[in-house]
């Protein structure tokens, strides 16, 4: 199978779906002629033209909001937000409008909309470009939140997201954009939304991560193995709806869990993962579920990134600690 990076996988999915479904329109800041600041939409403008690959004014609110109207008009909008943090500028449009089209209209209307946004730290981006805000969108009923880590899943889940009849926030790991490579089938395939993936099997501790942090989790699992601890790594792939069954099955087996989250600790999505696991598998748990996260401070500028983000040592520490309890 041919290999691709994450951003190439995104590009493949978009290219394929625009060919397959003429209703798909791609728009956002700088997605057109320039192909997006990360080149995720590279080549689309040339292939599908200015009518379907459209640069918008610099306004996340109207990108999100207009996507609803485009959907109502019969299009299948795939909007790019340049960096997830900037969706905050259109938070009301995403949470109070886009996510509620079907619900507000009691089913009369729906919004088959995908909002793609790269996010996450570790790439020495300026302030506000790296923040891990997924939790804000996980608490927005009506919105699905997909956050895969591998090129394979990126392509398959992006295709599934675009075809999903309801709005999906599709999070792409900035850190993996050009670094993470993997096998990606050339043709059409979908990965089901709402299903986690066992990224590595193990028996002693379940380690849960998503998006850019999965690589880190695998690294930590490797380190733990060297110390004789067998770690099962779960790549959530979808945050909402959360695959509670896979979590429960794994923790029932291991009895221990560590949740890894890049975002600041408090009220991050990791809390939901913890709450769900202890609801579903409490009597298997032999130790408190630990969270490894960034401290409760905003994402710092570049020189402090490394200290800020969870690192393999901290994850390993938590893994070891949980096995000692």
């Amino acid at each position: 199978m041919p290999e691709a990076t994450v951003v190439e996988a995104v590009n493949q999915a978009l290219t394929l779906e625009m060919a397959r479904d003429e209703r798909v329109v791609v728009f956002g800041e700088d997605v057109g002629r320039s192909g997006g600041v990360f080149r995720a939409t590279d080549g689309l403008y040339g292939k599908y033209g200015a009518g379907r690959v459209i640069d918008t004014p610099l306004s996340e609110g109207v990108i999100a909001g207009a996507s609803i109207g485009l959907a109502l008009a019969g299009w299948v909008p795939v909007a790019e937000i340049q960096f997830l943090g900037f969706v905050h500028n259109g938070f009301n449009q995403v949470v109070d409008q886009l996510a509620r089209v079907r619900y507000r209209s009691a089913g009369r209307f729906s919004a088959q909309v995908t909002i793609r946004a790269p996010y996450g730290g570790g790439v020495r981006a300026p302030e506000l470009h790296s923040d891990g805000f997924e939790a804000h969108f996980a608490h927005a009923p009506g919105l699905k939140v997909v956050a895969p880590s591998t090129p394979y899943d990126i392509k398959g889940l992006l295709l599934a997201s675009i075809r999903d009849p309801d709005p999906v926030l599709f999070l792409e790991p900035l850190r993996g954009y050009r670094q993470v490579k993997g096998e990606v089938p050339e043709g059409d395939y979908v990965v089901e939304i709402g299903k986690a993936r066992i990224a590595r099997e193990g028996t002693d501790v379940t380690l849960i991560a998503w998006s850019g942090a999965v690589q880190l989790a695998l690294q930590a699992a490797e380190d733990a193995q060297a110390q004789g601890i067998s770690v099962e790594v779960i790549d959530l792939r979808t945050l909402v709806p959360l695959d509670a069954a896979t979590l429960a099955a794994s923790v029932t087996k291991t009895g221990r869990a560590v949740v890894l989250q890049e975002a600041p600790l408090t009220a991050g999505f990791g809390a939901e993962v913890v709450a769900t696991i202890q609801e579903e598998a409490f009597f298997s748990l032999q130790a408190p579920i630990r969270r490894v996260a960034s401290p409760d401070v905003p994402y710092p500028v570049q020189m402090l990134e490394e200290q800020y983000l969870p690192n393999p040592e901290r994850v390993l520490e938590a893994i070891i600690a949980t096995t000692r309890e």
Binding site: V62, G65, L72, A73
Partner: protein, 372 residues
Amino acid sequence: MSEAAPAAHVNLDGVASTPMPPMVRYLDEDGELLVEDLPMSDAMALEGYRVMLRGRRFDERSVSLQRQGRMVTLAPGIGQEAATVGAAMAIDAKTDWFVPQYRELAGQLWHGYPLRLAFLWHVGHPIAFQVPGDLKMLPFQAAIAGQLPQAAGLAWGLKLKGDPGVVLAIFGDGGTSQGDFHEAANLAGVMKAPIIFLCQNNGWAISTSISQQTASETLAQKAVAYGFPGIQCDGNDLFAVYATVREAANRARRGEGPTLVEAITYRLGLHTTADDPTRYEPTEMHDLWVNRDPLRRMQLHLIARGIVDKAALEAIEDEVKDELRVAWEEAQKEPAPDPAYYFGQVHADHSPRLQRQLGRFAARDGEAKRRA
């Protein structure tokens, strides 16, 4: 860089404003024609009047039912019927979309929204938001200006499709202060989207007066920021609103892009039934506008021109009263909403967690089928 001005000193005189076309008016305050040619037939004018009246009486009825504790907090459109009905009349319900805020019911009635659902809206029934059939209308919008980005997107989408439809998006003077208004208008300008931004300037955003809302001399001139025309019309003059919005709709259909129409009107009633205007509204101001009541103006006009007589007006009153009675009766027959059904409308498919949550509400027999 514009090459026009080779050299100049700083001159800031008079550039805070902009020359505007005169406000469009057809009728004076007593319904006298100010211009010769009318923009619509007498039959249409009469029909417009009827729908204005329907809106007025509906609001009055609703406020009274609310006072009896039978309705939720609601925002009557009393005094603004010419603005919303005139606008609705100027578009084509078969092709064009009506995107409301929450104070446009009279216009929505013209566009095809049923009275029965309007009553259900005010009892807090979710079915009122399920715009019926294929009526081209979005649901009521509680977030000020929240509907505008989607309205702009819809218009843009219609244009991209080659669809002949245009979008009439309505909002209030307060709405112009929101970023959503700005971003939507700017996008629509860039995309030359077929949309009419109709701002009902009713003088107040709750207790906030228009001069506290913006230093802009008119709201219409805000269009200058987006490169499309803005124009004021007398919002209490059915003909003026109709003519203005019709011209805007024609522009849109010709591919000339958006227009901002500022309909100057006044909220004669309460902001909502939870509001107490005596805390902020000068009585003289209220009195001034009572004299400009669009319904009264239209009555005087129709009578003066001999289109109806008093008896005919009475008959229309009776017919409207009857319609309201029937609609309210029908509304009351609507079963209480089935939570399993309505909560289930959050997604097309239900995750296991959602299924479990909805499991609490035994789905009522037939509800899904009835609504589907």
